[in-house]
């Protein structure tokens, strides 16, 4: 399905889904507001600004930082592969799996792996892929898609999950979350302990020390990176801190922004292989550093800052549009405000034009972002490209009708006499359509989209300009116009 047609349809489906609405309200009420309160009462109000500045410095020297990271990973026995495209990443991972006779892969939650599309490729190669994050596991069992970066199955309620588990896991029906969690724990333990390969993302790598660092609460990521023979970590190329100091700053912002936590239950620093010092690490560690369109974003000063994103999900938790439509409407691994910017940039601006235009630019995401990303500014830029086309980003103008409409609008507002005339015509037209309540409830064309659910006031019997001319102007001395 063409994503640009499906946005509105999926949005409507999301709005009609009571379970999703309830889940979103809860998450936004708790975490969105909570994060805003936290930033406003932070002892160090400049912290986010400093973090942003540090991130930009790292991004501006990303070639140096990544070279350092790769070197240090290799020093502790890991391998590093630089994947220019998603296909490269898939090819490499399949090779590693083949060489190691991998039959079962356990996954930690990773949006990058979804972006690349590694799961279907592994399954096609006859390898079993098991999501181990509880939310992702549920979504996988339900053959569905995640709807939130941090809380993937927020669109399902306990009843639905109870039925799912009764069906797929063969347990007695229960809708009690602790019991459901226990069932998943038991089912997944066996997978985690017998898997050949763990496949995870990377929250924030540390270049200076050569570590891949993963933030979690469930313990599945620790399991997936410790117990299997092989660990492959996918890392978006920008997800790296230069040194431990930058790492600490970002870690604290990440856990606060994601779930209001001072620190998550587990923060693991990994990247080595098993040896005397690391008794139960994997036998092999592969870091796959992924470009897949990011270098183009890096090269454009207008959009470079979006790479500072640490994927905390806070913007999802405050966005009024996301809060109504849910994550599925974005048709992308990345949803919410951040998804609305990176998805078009990574996958095609025209293809995802609805993501660029389908929000109000209210600015809440900018206020909540731990690294102060100006997402509204970037959305506005994307709209500009869609309006007239853009060669660098291969954007075609989206709508000739709309362009024509605004050309006509321009003609109207650059001539006061034409403008006044149009108002007079509109006034005449709307007078006939004004109801008893003084409002107009049916307008043609574009106006009809408004009046489908809303009334419109008619053009006033006397516009303010007319009143000024007739009344106000005369009652004052020496006024100019």
């Amino acid at each position: 399905m063409n994503p640009s047609h499906s946005y509105s349809r999926k949005a409507e489906a999301g709005m009609a889904n009571d379970t999703l609405q309830k889940g979103l309200k809860m998450i936004q009420g708790r975490f969105g507001k909570g994060a805003m309160d936290y930033w406003s009462t932070m002892q160090d109000p400049e912290r986010r600004k400093r973090a942003k500045s540090r991130r930009m410095q790292t991004l501006e020297h990303l070639d140096i930082v990544l070279a350092e990271l790769a070197e240090n990973i290799r020093k502790r026995g890991g391998k590093v592969y630089f994947a220019a495209t998603a296909e490269d990443a898939i090819r490499y991972t399949l090779e590693v799996a083949r060489e190691n006779k991998v039959q079962r892969v356990v996954k930690g939650k990773s949006m990058t792996t979804v972006e690349v599309g590694i799961d279907p490729a592994l399954e096609k190669a006859g390898i079993e892929v098991v999501e181990t994050d509880l939310g992702e596991y549920i979504v996988q069992l339900a053959e569905d898609e995640p709807s939130h970066i941090i809380a993937p199955c927020i669109h399902m309620d306990r009843k639905q999950i109870g039925e799912l588990f009764a069906d797929k896991l063969g347990i007695d029906y229960t809708e009690n979350p602790p019991e459901l969690t226990q069932a998943a724990r038991t089912a997944l333990r066996e997978k985690l302990l017998t898997a050949d390969m763990g496949l995870t993302g990377c929250n924030i790598a540390c270049a200076e020390t050569g570590h891949v660092s993963l933030v979690s609460n469930e313990g599945n990521i620790r399991m997936a990176t410790t117990m299997p023979r092989v660990h492959v970590a996918f890392m978006g190329m920008e997800r790296v801190a230069a040194n431990l100091q930058e790492h600490q700053d970002l870690l604290q912002l990440l856990t606060r922004g994601a779930a209001l936590q001072k620190i998550s239950t587990y923060v693991s620093f990994t990247g080595g292989v098993a040896d005397d010092d690391n008794p139960d690490g994997p036998e092999q560690f592969h870091l796959v550093i992924i470009d897949n369109g990011r270098s183009k974003i890096l090269a454009d000063p207008e959009f470079r800052e979006v790479l500072a994103c640490i994927r905390c999900g806070a913007c999802l938790n405050i966005c009024p549009v996301y809060g109504k439509i849910g994550g599925h409407a974005y048709s992308s691994a990345y949803s919410g405000p951040i998804g609305a910017v990176v998805t078009p940039l990574l996958k095609g601006v025209n293809k995802h034009a609805d993501l660029c235009k389908g929000e109000t630019l209210c600015g809440a995401c900018k206020d909540i972002c731990p690294v102060e990303n100006d997402l509204p500014r970037m959305l506005s830029s994307l709209r500009y490209k869609l309006a007239y086309g853009d060669e660098k980003w291969q954007v075609k103008p989206k709508s000739r009708m709309e362009r024509l409409g605004f050309r006509m609008w321009k003609t109207g507002i650059t001539s006061r006499s034409l403008y006044s005339f149009c108002l007079k015509v509109a006034r005449w037209y709307m007078k006939g359509k004004t109801g008893d309540n003084g409002m107009v409830s049916a307008m043609p064309f574009l106006g009809g989209k408004w009046t489908k659910d809303r009334d419109l006031p008619p053009i006033a019997a006397q516009t303010f300009s007319e009143r000024w001319r007739k009344t106000h102007r005369n009652s004052r001395n020496g006024s100019t116009s």
Binding site: A67, N243, V267
Partner: protein, 249 residues
């Protein structure tokens, strides 16, 4: 001319793309030594001095703060004056909990000097509880860990303001001990408790022998189902911390 070894073709090409993106026109790989600010640290020597100058009373304060930070619903913290006292607690837990995934009770503990004198195997001579130690040479370490329902570890550092253990992987101290068994009991010396995350990072920074570590701040949990918090996801369901009384040398 690259300062790094073992760079593959694909790495060189990838990095060159990035270089062109941020510094168009630069033909050769950029040397990190020309950009010292990228990897520079703010001076934290004062912080380190502060940590080093703490006395026993200060550490007592930090231990109390550690206990206060622990969420009473999920994390139990005890201060123990001796390993005998600690052993009492462990014995109590072991006798009163059913193993989750097995009918047999196995315990696995780190091969670490701090807990060598626990002598749990003596305590359990009458019970059918087997005690294993994570000796480096043990080929069956993985099986023993999986079979155990209690894992006992020694942490390098503690962080008071979030009741966190800095669990470092070292010879004889695998990560899996604090991860796979259903119950995790972590030991930390009182003298090794730090105030906050910044201090922990300062210590990590100075330990070049470290390969991997994990900040552990409670038992595993999840809220993926209707944002309802459940303790016990894939890692340990239950966690206890014993703060060992000791003196700062």
């Amino acid at each position: 001319m690259s300062t790094y070894h073992d760079q593959s073709e694909n790495e060189i090409h990838f990095l060159s793309t990035l270089r062109q993106a941020v510094a168009p026109g630069s033909d050769t790989p950029r040397d990190k030594r020309a950009y010292p600010e990228i990897f520079a640290y703010e001076d934290d020597r004062q912080l380190v001095e502060k940590i080093e100058q703490r006395n026993d009373l200060d550490q007592q304060g930090l231990a109390s703060a550690f206990m206060d930070s622990a969420d009473p619903q999920s994390l139990s913290v005890y201060t123990v004056k001796s390993l005998d006292e600690a052993a009492d607690i462990i014995v109590n837990i072991a006798r009163n909990r059913m193993p989750e995934f097995s009918n047999f009770r196995h315990i696995i503990q780190h091969a670490h000097d701090d807990i060598r004198e626990l002598r749990l195997w003596e305590r359990f001579s009458e019970d059918s509880i087997t005690v294993h130690t994570t000796y480096r040479e043990d080929a069956e370490l993985r099986e023993k860990t999986i079979a155990s329902f209690i894992g006992i570890t020694v942490a390098d550092w503690g962080i008071a303001d979030s009741a966190t253990l800095v669990q470092c992987t070292r010879p004889g101290m695998p990560q899996s001990t604090s991860l796979v068994p259903s119950i995790h009991i972590g030991f930390i010396r009182k003298s090794r408790i730090l105030a906050n995350l910044s201090e922990a990072y300062a210590m990590m920074r100075r330990d070049s022998s470290l390969n991997s570590w994990c900040f552990i701040s409670g038992p595993s949990k999840t809220a993926d189902i209707e944002a309802h918090m459940v303790h016990g996801a894939h890692g340990p369901k239950e966690m206890h911390i014993c703060i060992l009384e000791d003196s700062k040398e």
